[in-house]
């Protein structure tokens, strides 16, 4: 059996006053009365001896005290619990002493470490490391309290810069060293534990806190956390070739914050933004970047707070390139203008398929169906004849879009519901086809036919007639079709940087005062038995002296 807190045995001294009170009360107060003739009628002739009652009472009190002390000394029969190896890692970087006095985080860490030393059990051993600019081992595994305290006194500030990832902190390295120390020193069946005392203002604090063998005790008071919570980029539809970068910063602290946000492109600082955000509020800004070649965008908050991981956000922007498109048309204006309006589209307009340049990526056939169809991706608008992929049947009675099926971004942001298309003929695909829009009778109005030489998108409507020419969705439909056929990722997709959001609640949960107890599954029946015993003793004590208690 091992006493986890042997110092509590000093509570046994409480038995001394209990015994003194017992001895002092052995002699009852003496009261002179004139004659016994009245008192005999009140209490009779018998005399009650208080000695046995007081002895029982004193025994009950001592038994209660014994139970209390047993609870305080925390006896354990677990050998595993009796052989812990604890490594204290104290952050000695410059951020631990912002105040420079007794209230700073380093002093708090040393006080907490001293308390941990005092709670060492009989077979426990502890080592102390400090992590500043370098990792120092102040004392190896030892169970000698005075030596540990002396080593703790030698822990001083060991950093000249704040923990911004710039090298002023080596907590992660210290933890690695602590793990090696535990591996080499730990005995069979015992447990090793690393306790990090830090302000958590270093890279990797989150992962350290999540590790099973590390307990991160956050110090330094309620430090705020400013986080980049959204970082996104999209094409600028107003200015071709440029991109819009959206950044959002959330203040998770209790105080308003003013700082700067740097946005770098491939390591070059491009923008400096001033961030002013109130407590528990968000700040956002959209800035324009010229990113024709794409690259890596990095947003960095210029401050040191409780969580440094969310002060930096990065995202990759793909390179922007133009798509060469050939439009074979007889002069229909609506489709041509829609194609010309698309950014990064190099449009070539020809009147015959024979004149289509060989280097085009997408060919748009407007009311033209050559036989055979040209190779490569095709967008066929208002087909006027059959081909090897489809056959034109009778004219359609109903050309109103009833069902719309988005697929692969083809119809992103496009709403053709109840749009009346121009008079058209029924299209019967000769092979497998994906219907993207159909009328109420199920006849396809917009469909995709896959072929080895390139996909074909078929729209059975004349854009110069019907609702389509006036519909705002038509340019988006054309843009989606060109993007899909050219294999280019749509630039309208928002890329959101996934930033972990951490606040003080989570850090409070990580904070704990004591290392985890390794007792494990200790049975509860001794505790229940002790409670029952204490209740019995209290009951006996009540019975023994209730007459005095109810005065």
């Amino acid at each position: 059996m091992t006493l986890l807190d042997p110092n509590a045995i000093w509570w046994l001294l409480l038995a001394v006053p209990i015994a003194l009170v017992y001895l002092l009360r052995l002699r009852s107060p003496r009261h002179e009365v004139g004659a016994s003739m009245i008192w005999r009628q009140v209490v009779g002739d018998g005399s009650t001896s208080p000695t046995r009652r007081r002895a029982v009472s004193a025994c009950c009190q001592l038994a209660l005290l014994a139970l209390l002390i047993v609870a305080l000394v925390e006896p354990t029969f677990s050998e595993r619990a009796a052989a812990r190896r604890i490594v204290l890692v104290i952050d000695t970087s410059a951020s631990m002493t912002p105040a420079g006095d007794e209230t700073d985080a380093l002093h708090a860490a040393k006080r907490r470490a001293a308390a941990l030393i005092d709670t060492l059990r009989r077979h426990d051993k502890m080592a102390i490391l400090s992590a500043g600019e370098i990792v120092r081992r102040h004392i190896g595994f030892s169970d000698h309290g005075h030596s540990l305290h002396a080593a703790l006194d030698g822990v001083v500030l060991d950093g000249t810069v704040l923990d911004d990832g710039g090298g002023g902190n080596r907590v992660t390295e210290a933890v690695r060293l602590a793990r090696r120390m535990i591996e080499t020193d730990v005995i069979q069946g015992s447990g090793g534990q690393i306790v990090v005392l830090s302000d958590a203002a270093f890279e990797g604090a989150t992962s350290l806190a999540a590790a099973d063998d590390v307990q991160l005790i956050s110090l330094g008071g309620q430090r705020g956390n400013l986080a980049i919570t959204r970082f996104a980029v999209r094409e600028n539809f107003l200015r071709s070739g440029t991109s819009e970068v959206f950044v959002e910063v959330t203040n998770l602290s209790g105080e308003p914050v003013e700082t700067t946000l740097l946005i770098a492109h491939d390591g070059r600082q491009e923008k400096v933004l001033t961030v002013k955000v109130a407590s528990r509020d968000r700040w956002s800004e959209t800035v324009e970047f010229d990113l024709p070649e794409g690259g890596k965008l990095t947003a960095t908050l210029q401050l040191s707070d409780a969580v440094t991981e969310d002060n930096v956000a990065e995202l990759m922007v793909p390179a922007s390139r133009s798509t060469r498109v050939a439009l074979v048309t007889q002069g229909k204006p609506v489709l041509r203008r829609a194609l010309e309006a698309l950014p990064k589209v190099q449009l070539t307009v020809v009147d015959d398929v024979e004149n289509v340049p060989s280097d085009v990526e997408v060919t748009v056939l407007d009311a033209v169906v050559p036989n055979p169809l040209p190779p490569g991706p095709l967008l066929v608008i208002n087909p006027t004849g059959s081909s090897e992929l489809w056959r034109l049947a009778q004219p359609l009675d109903d050309t109103t879009v009833d069902v719309q099926r988005p697929a692969d971004g083809l119809l992103r942001n496009v709403r053709l519901d109840q749009a009346y298309l121009s008079a058209s003929r029924q299209i019967v695909p000769l092979g497998d086809a994906q219907v993207l829009a159909e009328n109420a009778a199920g006849d396809p109005l917009y469909l995709r036919i896959r072929r080895p030489a390139g996909d074909v998108l078929l729209l059975a409507a004349d854009p110069d007639k019907g609702d389509l020419r006036l519909h705002e969705s038509f340019p988006l439909l054309v843009a989606g079709a060109i993007d899909s056929l050219s294999g280019r990722t749509t630039k309208s997709e928002i890329i959101v940087a996934e930033i972990p959001l951490m606040d003080h609640d989570r850090w409070a949960a990580l904070d704990a005062t004591e290392p985890n107890d390794a007792q494990g599954g200790m049975p509860l029946w001794p505790a229940y038995a002790a409670i029952v015993l204490a209740s019995v003793f209290l009951l006996v004590e009540w019975q023994a002296f209730h007459q005095r208690w109810i005065l």
């Binding site: 107060p29 002179e32 004139g34 004659a35 016994s36 009245i38 008192w39 208080p50 007459q547 109810i550």
Partner: protein, 303 residues
């Protein structure tokens, strides 16, 4: 058991006491016409020259007052009763039983007896004093005149606790042997007599004595505030008893004490005797003045 040491550390009847007694005597003459507790010596039975009646002979009667002619004619012993102006004869009986050792009851009783003796002598009465417990232990025959004050006070001061139980019946029988003629008997006691006070009062009542009981209590006897484990030290009879006192028992004790006091008052009222129940908290001179005032009211009130 005697606890004299507690009561003789300072003179019982010092100069201040005498001064208070002198003021009391003056008050008695001015306000109450020289009466002591409402009584005076005028027209007392026996001691005069005019035969007013006869009564059965009792042991202790003066043989000179036996009507021998009647004895010869009717073969019965009767004593002749006379009436005439006679000085009041007053006996002061001070309880010296063990229970009087509680608190300051014994000293208080002696001071009160001394004051009564002073006032009585000042009003030309004949005053005797006696100590009693299980019976009369020391007596000083009735004295007359202020010159006897010193002797009476000395006799009262010399009384000591006897450590015996109270026996009022025996005391009364012994007293009438020494005082066959009716007199005013003032008994100062706590009256813790297991046999009760009725029989003793009957003895005095049968002989025409007028009795005034002064029942003296220590304040702790009436209040009894202790609770819990208490070791009771009974003074009369001497014994120790360990008890656990709770509120219920304490209330029972107070009720019994009230009943005891009511019994004493009832016994006196049935025999037209006077009764005063006091505690030792009040100064003796004020207490005595109050007693005289109450007695004068009783005398003036028709029965």
């Amino acid at each position: 058991m005697t606890t004299d040491a507690r009561y003789t550390e300072r003179p019982l009847f010092d100069r201040d006491f005498l001064a208070r007694c002198e003021r009391l005597a003056g008050e008695s003459r001015r306000k109450f016409g020289g009466r002591v507790l409402g009584y005076h010596g005028a027209r007392q039975l026996a001691g005069g020259t005019e035969v007013t009646g006869y009564c059965d002979y009792a042991a202790g009667d003066d043989p000179r007052y036996v009507d021998w002619n009647r004895c010869a004619r009717h073969d019965e012993l009767v004593s002749k009763q006379f009436q005439g102006d006679e000085d009041l004869q007053m006996w002061l009986l001070v309880d010296c039983s063990a229970s009087m050792a509680l608190g300051g009851k014994f000293d208080y009783a002696r001071r009160l007896a001394g004051a009564l003796a002073y006032v009585g002598l000042a009003n030309l009465s004949r005053v005797g004093a006696a100590a009693f417990s299980a019976g009369l232990t020391a007596t000083l025959p009735p004295q007359r005149g202020k010159r006897s004050v010193r002797a009476l006070l000395a006799a009262i001061e010399s009384m000591s606790l006897q450590g015996e139980d109270t026996d009022l019946d025996r005391t009364a029988r012994q007293l009438i042997g020494r005082q066959p003629r009716p007199a005013l008997v003032i008994v100062l006691s706590d009256f813790y007599d297991p046999r009760g006070v009725g029989r003793g009062l009957d003895v005095w009542h049968s002989r025409g004595h007028h009795v005034h009981l002064v029942q003296i209590f220590d304040p702790s006897e009436l209040k009894m505030n202790d609770l819990g484990d208490v070791e009771l030290s009974h003074l009369e009879p001497a014994s120790d008893q360990h008890v656990v006192l709770d509120r219920k028992k304490r209330q029972r004790y107070r009720e019994l004490m009230d009943e005891f006091r009511r019994t004493v008052r009832r016994c006196c009222r049935e025999r037209h005797f006077g009764c005063t129940q006091i505690t030792t908290e009040r100064p003796f001179d004020r207490q005595l003045l109050g007693m005289m005032h109450a007695a004068s009211l009783d005398q003036s009130t028709p029965a």
